[in-house]
């Protein structure tokens, strides 16, 4: 079965990104497909490659990047939510005249249409948030 996943709360403050991670791993282990995870609201903050948690804590962004690489998951960060919160890829940084970008490997910035498309193309949609 195809699962779409929405993460709508920020990392470390809220458990949503962790619960979603364990859920997606379990779904993949059971033979389901997770073609896309969509990050919205403060969930977009998962995608910054500049976070440096202490060594004895899980690294939420790196965990997602690794899982996505291993299983070909499309990690989509909402552009409108990302722009408000200062998350930019190289392309957007240039378009907006900013001097830096901060999106981690494996994540891509795109539109809210990707969320709707995920709802249309998957069998189940599960939301993790606050």
């Amino acid at each position: 079965m195809k699962f779409g996943v929405v993460i709508s709360e920020g990392p470390y403050t809220h458990q949503a990104a962790d619960t979603a991670y364990h859920f997606v791993r379990a779904a993949l282990a059971k033979g389901h497909e997770v073609p896309r995870v969509f990050f919205y609201h403060d969930g977009v903050n998962v995608s910054t490659r500049l976070s440096v948690p202490p060594q004895d804590e899980r690294h939420i962004q790196k965990n997602w990047t690794a899982l996505a690489k291993e299983h070909g998951i499309d990690l989509v960060v909402c552009i409108a939510a990302a722009q408000r919160r200062g998350l930019l890829d190289e392309n957007e940084a240039g378009r907006q005249g900013k001097d830096a970008d901060n999106i981690a490997e494996g994540f891509r910035i795109s539109g809210l249409g990707q969320l709707i498309e995920m709802g249309i193309q998957t069998d189940r949609l599960v939301t993790f948030g606050d």
């Binding site: 079965m1 619960t19 389901h32 189940r124 993790f128 948030g129």
Partner: protein, 102 residues
Amino acid sequence: MSTLHTVNKSPFTNTGLQSCLDHCKDGDAVLMIEDGVYGALAETVMAERVAGRIGAVSLYVLLPDAAARGLAEKRMLNGIAGVDYEGFVDLVADHDRTLAWL
């Protein structure tokens, strides 16, 4: 045709669980995750309302979240089943849609 409802808030600070119980239909399932697991406790001001739906609605608690909070199964209401993440996945697959009470 049935729905899996997820509740992730403590019922003592948020009306999510109450609203969920008011809207779920017979045959639906409710899974308590994150701080929502406190809704599974017996002998609370919420317990009667939760227990009142057991049977008509299947109630579940996500065990890793309960364990993290030191919530032993013997403290929980009878009739609430524990699941791990694999069980969570099965619940999503077995119901037609998932509704998150955020």
